[in-house]
Subunit: 372 residues, 4 copies
């Protein structure tokens, strides 16, 4: 990765963000929460006014309607992508070709050929392809992994990861053309990556998924409830549960089972201040419906998800201070498992890996079976 | 405070630490966790070898046996004190006279005249006197305060704060000559400061304390269990519970009661990963007895206490970027309440404030009554 | 107690209830939940229609407007009192004189002379005077006591008991003439009895109380928030917290601290099914404001408070199968401590026991000091 | 069911127990905890001394080595079976032919023909065949069902049930010849029955199971870890997790997800007294490894599982006071789902129901596939 460390080791990495909504805001605030390694200097978003609004909120000097214009700025070294899934591949390739490092939001892209092209282009261009899987940096989950590595649980044979809420914040998620999949793709990509990472990047041997559209059938033909079981090469299991149907606010939890012990890590109820309010207050937690009555407000939400730590890591990789911990290759493993998961739900059986997709987008592996 | 901002606004504040034990280690690591505003460049500790050991652990370049030597270093702008309570006043005065900013660990000092002299000297020398009460920066407690300020609980009439463990880490705490008091002084100083801060620095109107030496009478004549009730000018109550007798690891919890709601904030069980291990692992939490069996390991412990945030704040105050949020005056309020608390336990009655001490050290207000 | 066991040992004890509201309903349902030792055959309530309504709900055959008429029924062996506090003494005496066993709700009565007369009359008449302190029978608290007796915590030096909600269910509680005291009398009587019982009925040496009327000053001149510290003869502390100002539903919790361990027992959040509902459902828990949003519904509430077990115990005492575990003497200890607590709040100091009341009702010890 | 109510409606049902170990003890104590409807008068166990021991512990008058001798006692009306799974069918048939009502522990039996013969024989003999699934009577789970029926969660599409510990108490469970299956059969039978019952006895449409022997391969060829997904006719999912590998004591938890809400019911940590003890105490909870250190002791364990309530129900059914809520037919549904589950794990695919077994015992459906 030849372009790293070219600049003065002490200089902050200058960052551009593509996008202006929910996730772009999180990137912007995360760079400010851990400011010593990087700073956001530009935002690009095609809807007039959107980039300006975010730029003003975080005192970001430059805005662009077309991200390709932003890529011409010579001082920008790293660009983060928060656009809909179907745009990830093209943007990554454009960024890499402009000689800049890439941080791409999850899931990496829509198809395996896209993933391959993204990885290859970045390699050829000598730029980093960072895969923004924040669960690798979530402090509570990192602690679980440390305890596991210290032998606290003996040999681990089951890793459970679950993320649930009542549905995504942007409308494109409901549209399978833009998203490529439903809850399994949107939320399960976290859980699949997590199990893979937690178990030491063992190969995925098989995938089974149970999918359904239980609550939001009027809005989407994608899955809104998913259970996914992964078998790994060393015989351990990953179990991923994800849902767009869960009431009462965001839910993210991990459980680790070894022959010598267990640990439970809950990011929401398990970190919260159980609170009752007659009058309500500012904010409880992502996707919480109200702050009146009982609620579970969390504190320093972004930090507790690990996003500032993740962005700091990518900047440090750019400066050659750390080795990449969340790569395009990790993202590709997830995409392959998502195809296999959707295919499994369509076929009603466990799919052995490696899996060669038979449909364009992951979700189509399931939808075409449902329709047939 | 004329000495601030003299240097380049972008330069990190250079810090010296007095001490080399538990608390000094926490200071050193805290500055590294949030490195963008300050860096530790020196440690002073009178026991040969101690400063070296800590300096090596955190790559700190300079060590001193005598802190007065360290004060001669011209580039050091801020010095933090982690020495036993009885040394706080003299050290603060020496630091201030050397023209450097002071961060003094809790409790501020042993006596009210000491507190006055510390505050006056720093004022005269134009240096900051920061009072290292980390609960003002604890992220979970800061969230509770934000919800309160947003009106979530209506008018608040009761703030409870509790800190308990099985006894301090350094032997000088057990010696009343060096510590000036027992659990109420060591741990209650946090709770008293917290209630005062949470309720908007209303004047303390009265203090009642129930003290006893229940478990460690062989080790100390100080109190190892304390309940302390404070009445504030606006009629709200503070209730502080602290103990050196609590088994099973550190405990720090706050509860807020208003006419319109309640919130509970637990820093330990309430943030932990409930964990069972047959084999044990590295570390669970401050003062936990073991990691075998069930335990409540926490993650990013210093950050969750707020210590890096606190140190960052002091550095930013030095650079003129923030206004001091934890001052010598706050520490003095606590000392006065501690005198009143010990006097109350001695007299068996509520002590009205302001209170003019009748004993040398806070604990003597109680001990002399017990002995008479 | 000569009247016990006169009847066939296998026959159920026939019970009459005085009262028809909240607590009378609880008695009626509790006898049905554990039906093998007793059955309710009559209810007396002065308001026309009230006794009928309850009788119908629980298929109770006989109703009376005047409890004295009910006392003439020869087959009734035991009468339970759920009337306002000021009526407890006269009713107890009438029941005893009718040769029937008495179960009196908490607090036992209003004054110490009343308590003495109740105890003496029952003794003279050879009838049981059962004091309905259900915390002695609460299964979770009984487990805590068993663990303590098995040595799990070593020597215990601190017992905390807390009961809080947003104010009582019947209007007479707010009227100090009928209730004799506020939250300390209504809820603190549980906590005082609990600490006394848990610590093995050690003598109470001193009482300190902090009282205030923070939220309901428009409704009552009684205390709606109370903290009460009791010193026992063997040097252990009891700490009782009670409140009529706590939002979000009923709260009842106990904590035990010994030199060798701790236990926490929470009857509400700690037994509940954390639940989120958009639509609401039947019932969550005593005094919960709503079932929409997050709530903490409990299951088998009466059983988890221990009330059926308590009523069964009293019936078994009547049949000579068990020794009385909650007596008029226990109730008298509580009344004396309540006087001392109110006097303490008035005087701002710890009151040594035994205490000779100087006011008519407990609350007057405080009110007269506030007004002077 | 012609034999019911033949006796005086007020007379207690006389009960005989087959077995003398863990589960027989639970039956005996459960009848004593709710004694008003039934009493245990006899125990039969083939190992000399065993029945005597239990009989003495609970003051049970009659003991037998051969249960067939016990069946000759004319006054016994109901017999409960706690013997190994492979004996359930023969015993049930013998009891029914003796004209006595049957309560059979879970799982109902080993094979579907056995189940059919048990059901038919009892029907022909006019006796009750009660299936001892205590989760139908667990108070906390009953509350969850009540809330669901009151509409609190809207339409429910996912029911999760999990039971885990570190392996069974009797050695026959490890032997597939005697048990017929591993963790899925031993613990999953609870979860399958629970989902079926909770969702209103909708037909099971398909079953998928992931099984493995992760920790106890030296002891058993049965599964010690199982995840089982059931699709029901009304499109809802059941998810059953069970394990013989979970450290740290018993775990039993249910989660209900509807479009309008969620509830979580945890029978262990969720009811417990979080406790730390240096010295240990009597008993924490079923299968807990120790009471030293942190533990989660529960209170009134049998009652909180619902076993006394379940036994009382069966006695009331015998007396015609209630309609049977847990029948041989329920047990048969579970056996069929177990066959399908084991077959699914063998085939790596979802098995459609009804399923015609191809192996002798449930576990063989999986084992023969593994070996092939």
């Amino acid at each position: 990765m030849d372009r790293r460390q070219l600049r003065n080791n002490k200089e902050k990495v200058k960052v551009g963000i593509i996008g202006s909504k929910f996730e772009a805001d999180i990137h912007a605030v995360s760079f400010q929460l851990m400011p010593e390694e990087a700073e956001v200097v530009a935002i690009a978003s095609p809807t007039p006014g959107n980039a300006e609004r975010l730029a003003q909120k975080y005192s970001i000097p430059r805005v662009f309607l077309d991200y390709r214009e932003m890529l011409k700025e010579p001082d920008i070294e790293m660009v983060t992508i928060t656009a809909p899934n179907r745009l990830h591949a093209q943007m990554t390739i454009d960024i890499a070709k402009a000689g800049k490092h890439v941080v791409c939001e999850k899931p990496l892209c829509m198809t395996l050929p896209e993933a391959d092209e993204m990885i290859d282009t970045c390699k050829r261009q000598g730029v980093m392809l960072g895969y923004a899987e924040e669960l690798f940096f979530t402090p509570k989950y990192v602690k679980a992994k440390e305890m596991a590595e210290q032998g606290g649980f003996g040999k681990i044979h089951l890793v459970k990861q679950s993320e649930k809420h009542f549905g995504p914040h942007s409308s494109w998620f409901w549209d399978m053309e833009q998203a490529g999949g439903g809850a399994l793709m949107d939320l399960g990509c976290h859980g699949i990556a997590f199990c893979y990472w937690f178990l030491g990047r063992q190969k995925v041997k098989s995938v089974y998924a149970q999918l359904g559209t239980y609550v939001h059938a009027g809005k989407t033909e994608g899955d809104d409830e998913a259970i996914c079981i992964l078998e790994f090469e060393n015989a351990a299991l990953g179990m991923v549960e994800c849902s767009w149907t869960k009431r009462g606010g965001m839910f993210d939890k991990t459980e680790i089972y070894g022959e010598g012990g267990v640990t439970y890590a809950d990011l929401h109820m398990g970190n919260a201040l159980p609170t009752y309010s007659e009058y309500g207050f500012g904010y409880a937690v992502e996707k919480a419906p109200t702050t009146v009555g009982w609620s579970y407000p969390v504190f320093e939400e972004h930090w507790n998800y690990g996003i500032p730590q993740e962005m700091r890591h990518f900047a440090r990789v750019v400066r050659g201070k750390e080795t990449l911990q969340a790569s395009g290759e990790d993202g590709r493993v997830v995409i392959e498992a998502l195809y296999a998961g959707y295919a499994s739900a369509g076929a009603g059986r466990k799919i052995e890996m490696p899996y060669k997709p038979t449909a364009t987008k992951p979700v189509d592996e399931w939808l075409k079976a449902k329709k047939s």
